[in-house]
């Protein structure tokens, strides 16, 4: 911000413009920030529609919604940053929930450990496959998604399995510090760890490099294969943990949760500024996107608006993201902007 000797007001405006310019060139911050602000504003306006004031319980419920989807979205998001799209997390989510319920009837911790172990193993196997054969992850993980749904269904004979350990269910749904609960705290902790690892370590830089330009990062000495195996292992473990916590808190495991969790987790990632093209995204942005999705769900519950409002809102939100991310559209807009900037003179940029 080299304002020089220009008057303070002008300097501030130019600094503001420069910051705005940086933001528009950094969708991983802009998209989640704007979406979260919009949804927060809508959330604060819900009393106008519902007639009831906002309570701490609404925040608690929002965070419960965040916890239901959060670990799934985090697992999906970190692979997306590395340029992969791991559809199988939805299968691991279902299978993890089923394993946790069946292995954890006597000890909840044992069930979670079994689920997370299985999820990590599934993820490691897929990561190893994707890295060794250098195959795009979408078709591989689509196949494993189907297979894992089959596994979850075969484990339970196609039926939901109830979780009889009511002590664990009650413990998970008990409020902690008014608005939190064990699952939401675990989710937030996982995001904090992801932010530390991706933001402050060599591994984080390597993940983004792998997602941005795989060939170049390989040439530059990034351990692409190891990074991929590690990421898929982490995403499998996270998805399984998410599934386990969900089934415990619902006191039942559903062998086929359908596509909805996957779609909503993807929306959270995209709204969180993660690009499907890879190389872009921050855990903090992802958390903001997730919070936006959870808030939308809570708004929906509080106002008792018909479901299609939320669906149309998601569609509109995603269309904006489509437009922000579309290279063809951006090329056209850049041409327009360049023309306008030339007319106004170079300072205006």
């Amino acid at each position: 911000m080299s304002a020089g000797q220009a008057p303070a007001g002008q300097a501030r405006r130019r600094a503001g413009l420069a910051a705005a310019g940086r933001l528009t060139s950094r969708p991983e911050i802009l998209v989640p920030a704007v979406s979260l602000l919009l949804v927060l504003a809508a959330f604060l306006c819900t009393p106008l529609v519902s007639g009831n004031g906002l309570t701490a319980f609404d925040l608690f419920n929002t965070l419960q919604g965040l916890a239901q989807l959060g670990l799934l979205a985090l697992g999906l998001g970190i692979t997306m940053i590395a340029g992969e799209f791991d559809l199988s997390v939805a299968g691991t989510y279902a299978a993890g929930g089923m394993i946790a319920v069946q292995a954890g009837q006597s000890s909840a911790v044992l069930g979670v450990l079994a689920a997370v172990g299985a999820g990590a193993a599934i993820g490691a196997a897929q990561g190893g496959l994707v890295a060794a054969v250098r195959i795009p992850s979408l078709p591989v993980t689509l196949a494993t998604y189907i297979a894992l749904l089959g596994l979850a269904s075969a484990m339970s004979g196609g039926l939901s399995v109830t979780y009889a350990n009511t002590a664990a269910t009650l413990a998970l749904d008990r409020p902690v510090a008014v608005i939190f609960s064990l699952p939401s705290l675990i989710t937030l902790a996982a995001f904090a760890i992801a932010a530390l690892v991706l933001g402050g370590t060599r591994l984080g830089r390597e993940v983004r490099a792998v997602g941005g330009d795989r060939r170049a990062s390989r040439v530059a000495g990034v351990r692409v294969e190891r990074t991929l195996v590690g990421l898929f292992t982490a995403s499998g473990a996270l998805a399984a943990l998410g599934g386990a916590l969900l089934s415990y808190s619902r006191a039942s495991a559903n062998p086929d949760p359908g596509l909805q969790p996957l779609i909503l987790a993807t929306v959270a990632c995209l709204v969180g500024g993660v690009s499907l093209a890879g190389g872009r995204g921050l855990p903090a942005g992802l958390l903001a996107g997730l919070l936006a999705v959870a808030l939308l769900g809570q708004i929906d519950a509080m106002t008792a608006l018909p479901d299609y409002y939320t669906e149309l809102l998601y569609a509109a939100l995603l269309l904006v993201i489509v437009a922000v991310d579309a290279p063809g559209l951006r090329r056209g807009l850049d041409r327009l902007r360049a023309g306008a900037a030339n007319r106004r003179g170079p300072l205006a940029r």
Partner: protein, 322 residues
């Protein structure tokens, strides 16, 4: 994904030489025939009918998905919602007569899907994000207009669609006709050649002056027609429609395309392969069902089959490039 590769040998030449994939597929087929022979009632006319009917339920959509995948747009996640909407439109317009109702359903499916194709083609938008958005929009609008209720026809003009000429459901004939049409378009027409080029190397296609966006829209429009036909048959079969009628069609169709050996990266594949993939999946499911395995095991086998084919196809094409 295959941006900077050299010229690729023509597909037919490669299909003649057997390799690991062909041997693997042959082994699977032989194993299925043996298992079928050992399974009571597998080789019967009624069972063949059941297999083909099951193949048609995803196959028709899968044929359309093949063209889109060959042109390089990996997958669509709005298929189930589109099929549901078409089913609703088709049932709600029964009083206009069968032809008009089918036509309106087709128009609806083609318009919805071609619009997504236009966003992908003209803006170079990510197909996955675009189709998730479209899925929400289509599902939302369908729930809005229908009020979230089930659509029942006022009169049933669709009975003819449930007929079984020569013992086979009409949908099977439609599947075969669509396969032949798509195969002809892919192999014998300019549009088909452009689809392969676009999927193989979009930069080259653009540099060669192809109307890339319009070729994409054409592929998606055909896809939309295929989805619409699936929706029409779904509606006729179920005689009522909800916003959730499409079920798992989105991923089932992709699974059939992938099981046939069409590569997800674009530039390779054929409609015949997809027909094979759809039939293979329904044969395996049918066999497992007859042997008393649960739906879960059937899904597991389907996933593993797709996994095997996807990897084998990728390894082969990677080797071919070296």
């Amino acid at each position: 994904m295959t941006a900077a590769e050299g010229p690729v040998p023509a597909e037919p030449a490669r299909r003649i030489q057997p390799d690991a994939l062909d041997i693997g597929i042959a082994a699977v087929v032989v194993a299925l025939v043996v298992a079928g022979a050992l399974t009571d009632r597998f080789f019967s006319l009624a069972n063949a009918r059941a297999i083909l009917a099951a193949a048609a339920s995803t196959g028709i959509t899968a044929i359309g998905a093949t063209l889109v995948m060959i042109a390089g747009s990996a997958v669509s996640l709005a298929v189930a919602q589109t099929a549901s909407v078409v089913a609703m439109v088709f049932l709600a317009t029964q009083q206009l007569g069968l032809a008009a109702a089918i036509l309106l359903g087709l128009l609806c499916g083609v318009a919805i899907t071609a619009l997504q194709g236009a966003v992908v083609g003209f803006w170079a938008a990510n197909p996955i994000v675009t189709t998730i958005a479209a899925g929400f929009a289509v599902g939302g609008i369908a729930t809005w207009i229908s009020g979230g209720t089930t659509v029942y026809p006022r009169v049933a003009a669709f009975d003819g669609l449930n007929s079984t000429p020569l013992g086979l459901p009409l949908a099977v004939y439609v599947l075969l006709a669509l396969t032949a049409l798509a195969q002809w378009v892919l192999r014998r027409t300019t549009v088909g050649k452009r689809l392969y080029l676009l999927g193989e190397n979009p930069a080259a296609a653009r540099a060669a002056g192809l109307p890339v966006a319009w070729v994409t829209v054409a592929a998606w429009a055909f896809f939309g027609a295929c989805i619409a036909l699936t929706g029409v048959f779904l509606a006729a079969f179920n005689t009522s429609a909800t916003a959730g009628l499409g079920g798992t069609l989105s991923l089932d169709a992709i699974a059939a395309v992938l099981a046939g050996g069409t590569a997800i990266g674009g530039g390779h594949g054929s409609a015949l392969r997809t027909l094979g993939g759809a039939v293979l999946i329904s044969v395996i499911s049918d066999l497992l069902l007859l042997r008393g395995f649960s739906t879960g095991i059937q899904l597991l086998a389907k996933g593993l089959l797709v996994l095997f084919v996807v990897i084998a196809v990728h390894v082969r094409s990677a080797r071919g490039r070296r």
